[in-house]
Amino acid sequence: MAQPPAFVFNVPETPEDQGQDPSPYDESEVHDSFHQLIQEQSLRAAEEGLELRVLPQREPGPETLGASELLDMSFCFVGSGHQALLGPEGVPDYSTATLRILASMPSRTIGRSRGAILSQYYNRTVRLRRRGSRPPLGGVGRSARPSLRLYDLELDPTAFQEEEKRTLLVKELQGLTVTQRDHMLRGMPLSLAEKRSLREESWTQSGKQRGPQGRRGLLPCCSRLRYACGLALHSLGLALLSALQALTPWRYALKQIGGQFGSSVLSYFLFLKTLLAFNALLLLPLLAFIVGVQAAFPPAPAGSVPTFTGLELLTGGGRFSHSVMYYGYYSNTTLNQLCGPPLDGSQCTPEAGGLPYNMPLAYLFTMGMSFFITCITLVYSMSRSFGESYRVGSTSGVHAITVFCSWDYKVTQKWPSRLQQDNIRTQLKELLAEWQLQQGPRSVWGRLRQVAILGFVWLLCLGTTLGCTLAVYAFSELMIKNPVSAEREWELLALPLVVCLLNLGAPYLYRGLAALERHDSPILEVYVAICRCVTRWGRWAFLGQGLCLPGAPPSASTPLVLCRNLILKMVILGILCYHWLGRRVGALKGQCWENFVGQELYRLMVMDFVFTLLDTLFGELVWRFISEKQRKKRGKPEFDIARNVLELIYGQTLTWLGVLFSPLLPAMQIMKLLVLFYVKKTSLMANCRAPRRPWLASHMSTVFVSLLCFPSFLGAAVFLCYAIWQVRPSSICGPFRTLDTMYEAGKVWVRHLEKAGPRVSWLPWIHRYLVENTFPIYLVSALLLAVIYLNIQVVKGQRKVICLLKEQISNEGEDKIFLINKLHSVYEGKERSRVGRAQEAEVPPTLPADERDAR
């Protein structure tokens, strides 16, 4: 198409060079690009006064470097400072024969020529097809299989070979199923046009092939049908995929955040999204099997229902207590005219006309199942995230990773991209400084002082945590001693208020303390801190792993604050759990204590939400105004990812703790998260800037999920298990009101089944031998331990193999260089003898040997 001439990109064309100086190994691309490079370089050298370091002994310039192929080959050798291995003269002395051989070495052709890529993928396809236990292609495929080893030294027949490889690849692709073929095609590093033509060929040829085969075969119709089915399934899959993609919310918002603030801040919002998914997963079965069913069969109202006043939205009491919101509303009877859900559908025995729906059982099972599903998903996502971010032997190569993997391609705006460049510069400088520091010895005194400061700060933090805990405990005792009357319901908000205030205030204190302990070497500090962490609380081990990595030095204060905040939050929640199950149950004799606990959690959640909003408003907005007025140069405050994530984890723990007593709490959490997403996004856009220090996004998201799993989910699960197995449910409300423990519901049902007849006798048997007997549990845990042990051993072995392979590779490299040198000397000797003979025979030549050879 006609392009406006102004747009034409100026490619430095050097036709005369090409004409007079053909490359020895017909690779005009390389040649072109090389000329371009030289021009660029000479331009740059002229403009910026940069010296071309590559060939100090020569004057750089296109005309002197006429033998471009020589330089192309030698460029890297010389530039890298390894020329000592290749002789004092450097490489340009290599004869073209040597270079010709070097150029056609297999390792040089990998990844460059299309032919090599084709054959590489051909081999992969063959492997894939073999695995699919289909019959091999036959003799043709095996004998003519091109391998990189067979790659001919003569590059003239490249075109032919490429064509051949291509047909082979197409043939192999035909042998694959449609999905495998697409997968293969998508992953090939070829241009789209190439892929399309490959696809086209493999489609049409397979169609052609299938035709005659079908005619010959007995069931032509069948194979055609299968083919059509495959096609239909294929389009269906594509359609489903697009439907799924359409469901991904916030595409644009996430892009905006990623573009403006980079991966680190984005990880907070992605975590929020993950939490939303978890809550939806938790809520759906609850809605379907408990809330929905109970709403369809409302129990007879017990006494008068209070009117709605509006305060309920904050306290969660009053009108809400008499709704599906809380445990107390659910009936302990069998709801009729409805068959049970699939969970206990198999036990749907016809009884007295209708199909029974045993509410206590449904409550127990649904809770158990949804928790189990959440647990599985959580563990799966955690293992996947660990697998992605920690690989065997991933502890070396900081500089390389920083250089190659630290640029965030998502960033789309000028300011963040400048910030990123600054970050990378700082990081590289720090790495270099640290490396230089390691060379020199460190003073013992300085180290001692650091440890002393650290110990002091830790003591202070732990003291504060202890104080907060005691305060919460004392306050909760006080609340028990002075029960709140029904008229002054708002007084119930006192405890959540105190808790939230402590939760809000302590992090600021910790941040202040963290500023105290800022030293010259952030890495050491983080190490020491985390090691303390690890030794004191074994379960933080993963945290230490996540933050101790020598990858990039994360912000010094971040992990410490994270750790301390987490300790505080978990200790406070622990105290509250003790308060509810240990003290409240006793204090609320004759009342529905489950409702009370549910309400308390509701209040905590609402208060947490309100405080988060206030904190966002005042903490970020006001801080921005102040800092803009006071110190012009500091500008906007940084977005504190760690604290915000911890708040999310805290909120999620509250949801998990309360879901047994208030099945609609996940719905509340979902609403809260939705609002939070928009509030935080708006506040982020308006008030904040990206964190200045680098931040390992994927490690951090692993740490987030692990924190969500370990203290948070595990704690909630222990709490709920205790409540289900040990605590006596209140006798006036809820589905378990007549039982000793909630777990009894299951036992009662099993006994009921035993009476029902021999048809379902296997269920009581399973219960007796697998659930009540402790032996299977021991067996399973022993098996689990064995599997873990085996895995550890496998990883160890892999590490060892990696070390050996590395050694082997480096040996091979040395061999290669040795062989190249040998080759060079052989050719040189040959050359010399030839020149000598020529000199003897004729007049002495005026041209150097190299140039004559090139002609």
């Binding site: 789209l192 046009a193 070396s396 460049q421």
Partner: protein, 187 residues
Amino acid sequence: MGNKPAVFTHEQLEAYQDCTFFTRKEIMRLFYRYQDLAPQLVPLDYTSSPDVKVPYELISSMPELKDNPFRQRIAQVFSEDGDGHMTLDNFLDMFSVMSEMAPRDLKAYYAFKIYDFNDDDYICAWDLEQTVTKLTRGELSAEEVSLVCEKVLDEADADHDGRLSLDDFQHVILRAPDFLSTFHIRI
């Protein structure tokens, strides 16, 4: 499709879906982005596969690439002739590789190409210097740059030939968990 004239035939769309990591909707979105770059150049009817190239200047003015220090390399690597001018196929190819779904191997291959400034299939010290300079806006001293390059070569060059081959590079990438999330352009 409705009464609006179709940009692609059904077969074309299916081929694009099979060869890229995009769904139909995303392909259309990308097409309109491409068309927006040069509305007078790119026709709204691709059923006959017209041979249109959008010049590099327009490609690099996209917000996704505008502030990327490697934008020129990206455009060169993905364009057919290495000049940065892009056909629709090149354009789709580029965003397909940069998408979330693309596997690590594919991404690593193209990242290698991007960092291989002189197109000699090896990342040598000079390429590394270019990369570091672009990464830091040229604000490191020459000494620091060469020190960094030396360290990188030291760490990543498994066979000690003084430069990084594709294999060396892939080995580095394999150990970098963040690569998949950072070598990613949201569309």
